[in-house]
């Protein structure tokens, strides 16, 4: 708090942190504490019935189970794959939209439609997959190979791309708007081909933002439950196992262990995105 004195405090009035206290109390009681209890549950030192004494069994059992290992791998493939594919789709789209916006061509409708899925719960996206590629799906009429696709790994991947589009496009759109179009234009007038400009100028400039956005989107996709819950008769992902442990027999400790595992994966994606993005940014500056 060096430099300028804090503005907006009553002189001699209550200290500033008092204003923050109610929200902090809520966050600590209903977020910090429950998560701590969940971690304790997973090690058998939490609340009944997860208070059998310190143990690593719940984690060991999880890794020993082939169903959990399969779900874990499928989760990483679906979350990682869908985000990578979405990034591949999103980069040309945001560049195009940024160019249109600079040229004064309206992008409101495109922006609105591309943001739409963010307001839709995952279950609706799962339902979309059933309407189009379920057993009586609309696309199945056009080609038989489409029916039932919703319940397979590729089908789930497409559903998760739908889920990831607004979460990747939105933040990346901002990054594309701030790119200096002069750089690409100069390179073009100096004779560089379109592909060369994209590979040596536009993509490297956009890459740090793309990596960070990708990490965040992957964290969200890993934790997403609604989509896979609607399509639960197909491929199993890790969030389904977390729920299953609770709904069939209330095994709180093993459910907590899987939830902690899932949270660790999400945090890993988030942190990896941040760190990698910073490394790439530094790499280009030096």
């Amino acid at each position: 708090m060096s430099g300028r004195p804090p503005v907006g405090v009553l002189r001699g009035g209550p200290p500033g942190w008092l204003a923050a206290a109610p929200a902090l109390l809520v966050a600590a009681l209903f977020c910090g504490y429950p998560v701590a209890v969940m971690v304790a549950n997973s090690f058998g030192v939490g609340q009944a019935p997860a208070d059998t004494g310190p143990t690593l069994d719940h984690y060991l059992n999880a890794f020993a189970s082939s169903a959990v290992r399969g779900a874990l791998i499928a989760s990483v493939i679906v979350a990682g794959g869908s985000v990578l594919l979405t990034l591949g789709i999103a980069i040309p789209v945001v560049l195009r939209l940024a160019r249109d916006n600079r040229a004064g061509r309206g992008t409101v409708l495109a922006d609105a439609l591309l943001t739409l899925p963010i307001a839709l719960p995952g279950i609706i996206i799962g339902f979309f997959a059933i309407v189009l590629t379920g057993r009586t799906g609309l696309l199945g009429l056009a080609w038989d190979g489409f029916s039932g696709l919703a319940y397979t790994l590729p089908g789930l991947l497409v559903a998760y791309i739908y889920f990831a589009i607004p979460r990747v496009l939105g933040p990346l759109r901002g990054a594309a708007e701030t790119l200096d179009p002069g750089l690409a234009d100069s390179a073009r007038t100096l004779g560089a081909s379109r592909i060369r400009v994209f590979c040596t100028i536009t993509l490297p400039l956009l890459l740090p933002a793309a990596i960070e956005v990708g990490g965040t989107a992957m964290a969200v996709a890993l934790g997403g439950y609604g989509t896979v819950a609607t399509l639960s008769e197909g491929v199993r992902l890790l969030p389904l196992n977390v729920v299953n442990e609770l709904t069939t027999g209330y095994r709180l400790a093993s459910s907590s262990a899987l939830a902690v595992l899932l949270a660790c994966l999400s945090v890993l994606a988030l942190v990896a995105g941040r760190v990698l993005s910073r490394t790439v940014r530094k790499g280009f500056l030096s």
């Binding site: 708090m1 969940m38 307001a119 907590s256």
Partner: protein
């Protein structure tokens, strides 16, 4: 490419519309003819559920502003290790998956479940990071702080500064927070699925129930009714996003 992506986003909604207006969708689009009966049949049961979801979302928005507003102000105006730590704490729900947080909440506070208090608090914790992100940036603005201190030095009271300078300047950030929080709470499934007492379902849970138990046609009609309620909020989100950069220019 942009057109393909747009088509990819819109196509499922149109397909759902086709399913919702078909008498028998398993016989193809508009199999058995065109009908609006599925909408008419879905509405009476869905209306109170949507009403409940709208009420909860409104309550969550109000709580976000009442609790998150002062928190954002503290974080923006008194940066210190304590506020940085606060940032980490509040942002935990961004990293910890919704179902994990829900499992943690019902394990810790089973007694708050029947009244619905745990649902509202869960939504609040889940949406607080978005309020904080929108408001802290706006409240930390140097120009705003200068204007505030000028007004104060001219003798304006705290309430007057808040109403005539701080709130109007942060209007776009506040709108951003309100629309995002409303949309997230209205569409929130994980906490609603676990924490909420099943006798009083929230809209996304009612949809999930319809997907599991009903035919494709009524489930489609219910999905479209839900989407119709989300659409205005979505428009507001897009519009505030477009206004946002102008403020900083």
């Amino acid at each position: 490419m942009t057109r393909i992506v747009l088509a990819f986003v819109v196509a499922p909604i149109l397909a759902t519309l086709v399913a919702a207006t078909s008498v028998d969708f398993s016989r193809g689009p508009w199999g058995g003819g065109f009908t609006l009966d599925w909408f008419a049949a879905a509405w009476p049961a869905l209306a109170p559920v949507i009403g409940r979801s709208l009420a909860v979302a409104t309550l969550v928005v109000v709580l976000n502003l009442c609790l998150g507003g002062p928190l954002a102000w503290w974080v923006a105006r008194f940066p210190s290790p304590a506020t940085r730590l606060t940032g980490y704490l509040v942002n935990v729900p961004l990293a910890v998956p919704g179902i994990a947080l829900s499992v943690a909440l019902i394990g810790t506070y089973p007694m708050l479940r029947p009244s619905g208090a745990l649902l509202v608090l869960g939504h609040l914790v889940f949406t607080l990071p978005f309020t904080l992100a929108a408001l802290v940036a706006a409240l930390a603005d140097e120009e705003l702080r200068t204007n505030e201190s000028v007004a104060r030095s001219l003798g304006a009271g705290n309430a007057r500064v808040l109403w005539t300078i701080t709130a109007p300047t942060c209007l776009i950030a506040i709108t951003q927070a309100v629309t995002m929080v409303f949309a997230l709470s209205f569409g929130e499934f994980n906490i609603s699925f676990f924490v909420n007492p099943p006798a009083t379902p929230m809209a996304p849970f009612a949809l999930f129930d319809a997907y599991a138990t009903q035919r494709l046609e009524p489930a489609s009609a219910q999905s479209l009714i839900f989407i119709a309620f989300v659409a205005p909020v979505l428009t507001a989100i897009v519009l505030t996003r477009r206004w946002a950069p102008r403020r900083t220019r």
